[in-house]
Amino acid sequence: MGARFRMLPDWRVWHRVEKEWVVSEERSGANILVESLAKQGVEFVFGYPGGAVLPIYDALFGEERIRHILVRHEAGAAHAAEGYARSTGKPGVVLVTSGPGATNAMTGIADAFLDSIPLVVITGQVPTALIGSDAFQEADTVGISRHCTKHNYLVKDPADLAAVVDEAFQIATTGRPGPVLIDIPKDVQIAMAAWSDAPPQRRQRYAPRTQGASEEIEQAVEMIAGARAPILYTGGGVINSGPRATALLRELQKKTGAPVTSTLMGLGAFPADNPDWLGMLGMHGTYEANMAMNQSDLIVCVGARFDDRVTGRLDAFAPNSRKIHIDIDRSSINKTVPVDLPIIGDCAQVLEQILDVWGDRKAQDLTGWKGRIDTWRERKSLSFPANADAIMPQLAIERLFELTKDKDPIISTEVGQHQMWAAQHFHFFSPNKWLTSGGLGTMGYGLPAAIGAQLGNPDSLVIDVAGDASIQMNIQELGTATQYRLPVKIFILNNEWMGMVRQWQELTYESRYSNSYSDSLPDFVKLAEAYGWKGIRIAKESELDAGIQAMIDYPGPVIVDCCVHNEANCFPMIPSGAAHTEMILYGDTVAGTMDDEAKALV
């Protein structure tokens, strides 16, 4: 090991903490890591062992403060940590080995980066002396994760570990949350360094701005008070900011009377039964939400980022509105849409500042504006045709909502049509109940996320709304739920297609269904049984309610294979390259092709 570290058994040494000599013991890097995690209040570590993390796994052996959840694939570990984080508001912790362990986890890390989910990811690395030698299970984890983590570290001395872990948690959970990765070579896990129970000494270099400037707040209040057609456009930032932001958003809405729409990531911040709720906006948002955005004179964007799925064609996006953008990340401002008033700060703090300045002001009379919104509502953009022969997937979600809403369930999803139908037809009333991969759009997210959420919320009903294609992407995690006796439910809308791919091929490639058919599907009921789950098949509309009820009533994990209409499409829809006003609703003619400019858009 050379002179760099002393690799001795438990050895008490004197060392200096702020000019005071104190006695402390030496501990291995692995031990310091586990102590540091326990100090952060970590309850669960989602991981998978391997050669380069064996010292850490040994340190976890018999550890009572931290429970290790053994997943079946490292991508599952990262998504489960995301589900835990998103549903509890606490950071998720992942532990995987070097090389393939780290690269397998990377999808979940990238997912957390785009959706601003706080994760601390510990990866093993080959011993320091072998780094760069193409050693067994070596990958440049720090290099690979550079642009999909908020920050990352390669720790080369166990004496740095306590401070690194402390800073990693601060970075992951404050400012705009995100994943932070700590790569620890195996020798650093084994080598000894001084350990003390005192908080680690480190520089405070990360201090994101959380308060809005007072002149910005006053200007915002004036703009809101003067608006005749305002709209609150809220996003995942409100959820990330914590329950206080949700409460303050509702208060601001009450005082101003402004209608509210939300991005996919922000669902739950505003209750779906409020008369001023417009539903989700964007590509598969409601007609009223998109028309109101387009026709508004003021958009107050709270913790959202004008994503391309929200704006549609940029040059036609809300052409006559002024825009206020509240965001904790300066780089979100003016990234795609130029705004009139940026306010950099934490959603809760800025909303509180706005409410303070608002005081007892009277809102404008918005009757005219709301009258116009009502005419858009009358289009009933979420309606869908009844079908006597097959279960409409939208109906299946509606029934799932009706039969579970009293239990205040947590819903996770995979990615595709079923995700959009769940966003449209399941309704949310509080934050942290809706777990979905919005930014990265990761198929295979929902099942592990549901597992993480169930661990963090043992008494909640947790349902993964899935598609037949997506669910197969992390199907191995069925075993994880079995092992830890987690009663998660999977509700598969089985249409035997990668439905969203098929829908786009129908719209833009003259129905040339290249590789979008789900051939050779497993028998999901038998698969459930093989893993010790209960399997339920719903084949007819008459079985729908009973099947859902049987799923709810069963105390353990259940897969429901809900066979739905094979060709139903997800509407309303703003086609690629179109404006908010050019929505396609059910019944419009949609088959055809598109010009290259539209095809080239994501």
Binding site: G143, H151, L154, K156, R205, R330, S331, N334
Partner: protein, 172 residues
């Protein structure tokens, strides 16, 4: 038919003060590639006695909205303390050092030495048939000198890239 469109671009000089930690240069250079930004030149050296802080000068070009994003994205990196867009913040000095090797005999050799004198370029190496000139100045001065030397037997050019600083008493 679709064709790729190009927007009007501006040249900006940015200085970035960073923690001098392993991988920070890769983080910054990688940020530019990952988000499709341009690097015209990049210089880096530590500037504190204890080697804790480095100053990076980046010359980039792009549409104004992209320059603003570059600024914001750089600030987002945890080890970055400060980003200053010199081009935005007013008059600033920019200097670059170049080594220029010229080979030739007779009249051309004399002319090269004479022009080097006009540009205040210093010969730092000489043989009977060549010079290496050291030249410091703004990038366009070096461009001009190199262009002239091309006619007089230019062999090789090495440039450091720009280092810049705001004029006046204030720290940027």
């Amino acid at each position: 038919m679709m064709h790729i469109k190009h927007e009007a671009e501006e040249r900006h000089v940015l200085t970035v003060t960073v923690d001098n930690e392993a991988g920070i240069l890769a983080k910054i250079a990688g940020l530019f590639t990952a988000r499709g930004y341009n690097i015209d030149s990049l210089t880096v050296a530590d500037i504190t006695e204890n080697h804790a802080v480095s100053r990076i000068t980046i010359v980039t070009h792009g549409p104004p909205s992209q320059i603003d994003q570059i600024h914001a994205q750089l600030e987002r990196l945890v080890p970055v303390h400060k980003v200053v867009d010199l081009t935005e913040s007013g008059p600033f000095v920019q200097r670059e050092l170049a080594l220029i090797k010229v080979a030739g005999m007779g009249e051309k050799r004399v002319e090269a030495l004479r022009i080097a004198d006009v540009f205040r370029a210093k010969p730092v190496d000489t043989s009977t048939s060549s010079f290496i000139f050291e030249l410091t100045g703004a990038p366009d001065k070096i461009d001009t000198f190199v262009a002239i030397m091309r006619e007089l037997g230019l062999v090789e050019v090495g440039r450091t890239g720009v280092v810049g600083m705001i004029r006046g008493a204030e720290e940027a």
